[in-house]
Symmetry: C2
């Protein structure tokens, strides 16, 4: 679902909002009928990591909706005041309590219907001990043949894992992958 | 400047907003004192291209604030309903009226104080004829020694151009570059 048309009132003055195309624009925007302020709605970034320990990767079992009980790479919404890399590191700490060394950006996937861009950095786990936060039921390592492919929370997580195991088998480096999910 | 604390009223019900830390959170969020809705503020994406024609790159002279009259690569805010690549293509068309073939993602720069992530794709110009839109005073090609380094609009534009000319001189491919600007 699009996160569009979520404004009913103006965040500045509280007046009623109407969706209309401003004079110098070509899209409907939340426009205040009282103070005329225009409020934009844009895609959000989700930042996370693909943490690796020897032959295994770290997945987290979600303790929150959406996709409660499904497995994900540690990731969450990027916050103001941080970089994409800092956000990925923070989410890995918050969701898995995992100590990692961040490696290069590996995937930038567009999730068009959700209005999201998902970033995943490769990461080297510094320890196989985890301390999951309240958003995670369980954090554990999986070898490739143990990955719960039918129990993954998000298509971008699947896409990132598929690319990773392919690249690892091929043995010619990792590069950057992008997929568009609609 | 941070685009934070921009909510005074609740976009859902129009009630007064207070910035406070929700029970399951660790950051202050815009929380409605009437309906209790929480409204998040997150970084935004700016998407654009580095269009190349033979030895030259395309820059646009801005017809809007901020940085009126300064030179930029064609770029703008990513919109809901599009991918980062589609947004980059759209902005190149809107700002320069340039016909391009998109190439791989080249730069992902974090502009922390602005709460923005800037994406630049390399692009091959299909024609050296441009048709600038209302946000652009002039669109023209520059060889490396003509770049108006002191008249560039944004640090991410400078960073992208510096990396590009370095990579081109080195002749070993372009890869992905990231810079953190605070």
């Amino acid at each position: 679902m699009f996160l569009t048309r979520r404004f009913k009132h103006c965040p500045s003055c509280g007046g009623q909002v109407a969706y209309q195309v401003p004079a110098d624009d070509n899209r409907e925007r939340a426009t205040c009928t009282v103070c005329a302020a225009i409020h934009y709605e844009n895609p959000l970034n989700v930042v996370g990591t693909l943490p690796v320990w020897e032959e295994q990767v770290l997945l987290c079992k979600r303790a929150i909706e959406p996709r409660y009980g499904k497995w994900t790479l540690p990731a969450g919404f990027m916050e103001l005041g941080e970089t994409t890399a800092e956000g990925a590191l923070r989410e890995t700490d918050e969701e898995a309590g995992a100590r990692i060394e961040l490696q290069p950006l590996y995937c930038v996937h567009n999730v068009v219907q959700a209005g999201q861009v998902h970033f995943f950095y490769r990461a080297r786990l510094l320890s196989p001990a985890f301390n999951p936060g309240p958003e995670t039921l369980e954090a554990r390592l999986f070898s490739e043949d143990e990955i719960p492919w039918d129990e993954l929370a998000f298509r971008t997580v699947r896409e990132t894992l598929v690319r990773f195991f392919e690249d690892r088998r091929r043995g010619q480096g990792y590069g950057l992958h992008s997929a568009d999910i609609r």
